[in-house]
Symmetry: C3
Subunit: 273 residues, 3 copies
């Protein structure tokens, strides 16, 4: 199933509309191109609805947020929803400022993105305090690791259930849940954290996967997470001793470019809880 999700991305060659930050935009674009999908980045209020209408999926990323971008995100989001395009929210830095927190919560309320992907702190910033989600000990959940895994799985399931959509918490272990089940994914390398924008790239890639697999959203989200994590593993193997995070950045995207069904299914390490 995971491999089929990737093959659909390559076969359908869909256009993804990305409203994103200027720090990692280039890598996000190359990451989406590496998957076989196409990408357009456009964030002017005057054109986002037209651009979204040409596209098959929308990725909203809150990095380097600006007030003018917020209305663009909402306009594009409403248009995408009206066309049954999948929408993904990457709440970069949410919890770090009121602007980001309020924008993320507004988008969740007004657009209801199909998928929300962040690290565990960002997901906590969005959901803690909400009813139906509390009742787990959040203090042990600073990161998703073996010690905190059970608590985190429960928390992410409850978030997804309360929200009514797919929630992804990225970290040393990645969690993907629709409220019923939770993929616990063990791919990836900790050194990916030294490359700026691997999270943004994953969100872009995930939007391409979801748009290309609308009947299997949850599986396609898990497939995108596995693809990124495996690319991190393969890319790391190809690093020479003197190569560091800048070359690693390229190697990860290169590995996505060469990913196929066999590699993906052979190397994916996950369980469903």
């Amino acid at each position: 199933m995971l491999g089929e999700c990737l093959e659909n991305v390559r076969k359908k060659h869909l256009l993804i509309h990305s409203i994103t930050n200027y720090v990692t935009a280039n890598d996000v674009a190359n990451c989406i191109l590496a998957s076989g999908a196409k990408v357009i980045m456009a964030d002017a209020e005057e054109e986002v609805e037209e651009i979204t209408a040409l596209s098959a999926g929308l990725c909203l990323n809150l990095g380097t947020l600006q007030k003018s971008k917020i209305s663009s995100m909402k306009l594009a989001g409403l248009k995408a929803k009206s066309l049954q395009h999948p929408v993904l929210l990457d709440p970069v830095g949410v919890g770090g400022s009121l602007l980001r927190t309020n924008t993320a919560l507004d988008i969740m309320h007004e657009i209801h993105p199909d998928v929300i992907r962040g690290n565990i702190s960002e997901i906590k910033a969005l959901f803690l305090g909400r009813e139906n989600v509390s009742g787990v000990d959040v203090n042990q959940m600073d990161c998703v690791c073996e010690e905190s895994l059970s608590a985190c799985v429960l928390f992410i399931k409850r978030c997804a259930s309360a929200y009514g959509g797919i929630i992804v918490a990225s970290g040393a272990i990645d969690l993907v849940s629709d409220g019923d089940v939770c993929y616990v994914i063990h791919n990836g390398k900790k050194e990916m954290g030294c490359v700026t924008g691997t999270g943004c790239q994953l969100s872009g890639l995930m939007t391409a996967f979801v748009a290309s697999n609308m009947n299997h959203m949850l599986e396609s989200v898990a497939a995108a997470v596995c693809t990124m994590g495996i690319a991190g593993e393969i890319g790391y193997q190809h690093l020479a001793p003197f190569e560091g995070n800048a070359t690693y950045r390229n190697r990860i995207i290169d590995a996505i470019y060469h990913m196929d069904k066999t590699i993906l299914e052979g190397k994916a390490k996950y369980e469903i809880r």
Copy 2:
């Protein structure tokens, strides 16, 4: 002649003012530096005229267009024209939104850039419907390939003639025309399409070539196209089997960095129709 154009870029070391999108700005800058020219990116209304006055050529790129950038582009464009600096327009995504289409047409009308460079769809979006340009079967012109070549050459010649400037349509085959003749250029690799911003880079590079060869504009535009295409061929040869589009991005710019008259003239594949 092509080689001489490149040598002039390296010798004159001119400053190019680029008003461009945030997705590919870094690669455009490194591409221009690789050619031996210098680059400054500045898009604030308050300063673009001063920056253009310090420069020798202006490149206007419509990617990630914002309303505030439009007036900056016009101010810079008028200043550049008043100083006899060459101006190039890259109408990224024109046809995809009214904002981009209207902006491109306004700039053509108010600034009259010396060179317009886009893919065949973008050129069609700008020129179809105009008198003197119609009369060719545009349905077969989705891409510039062997089957559609005669029709495309005729179309681009008519566009250039009607416009009164140089028109470049990039694709599997690249076309460069001033209305009288048309360079048909066969360099490049289809894999360049998997690297975001190769078109933007070509536009930046082309501005450096034109500014450095003001008495041979048409030849310098063709030389820039050949340089980029050959760099794509050389860069591709240097890719290891595990390297993909992210490393390819670097290899193309690296090959421009090492391009010289001998390589350029030895590998250029073009005919003049």
Copy 3:
């Protein structure tokens, strides 16, 4: 001492707030991550004070300046100062437009950054004409090289003394002064000038060094300059003959990633005047 400064960056793992240009933002982020510090880029007026409060140092870079960013820089700068966070100003392109010159001078006046880093032309644009700084022959100071070294050292010392902060003039030879002494640093390669944003990267890196070594600001600034220069030397050695400025960009950051006390202290070439 230089090596200890680097070790503090790696050990303290501080968050740096960078308000910067969109051309080189990605490389600046990866450069800061390579040093062991963390980075957040945020420039919206509504959130910069909160983001700065979460951070340990602030880097203000005037590239692709926009009016809306100026108030953000001032708000963040005042907040950083009120929290005793170090602030660095990189006056990119100052002298090239009134907007940049006035903004740099305003920031110097209103925020008084602890460190100002630019090339010699930028430093001249900021300080010439000021009392206590004149009296040196500036015509021979187009670049910092052996011929102009004595004049440049005197000039930078006087700038730093008149300003009451640390001034860094980057070039073939780098100068770092607090008004009393001047580090004259001979690391680096001239080919770094063909990579866009090495100056911006150095400013980001330097902010991480200063924030991690608040009791040894001058030494930490010199350590950052040596780190960048040595990384340029090591990265250059690893280039294959066909690799150019794009790969070099990655190799420099890679070398920072692998830099340690032994390499830094073994390869640093400087004298104190």
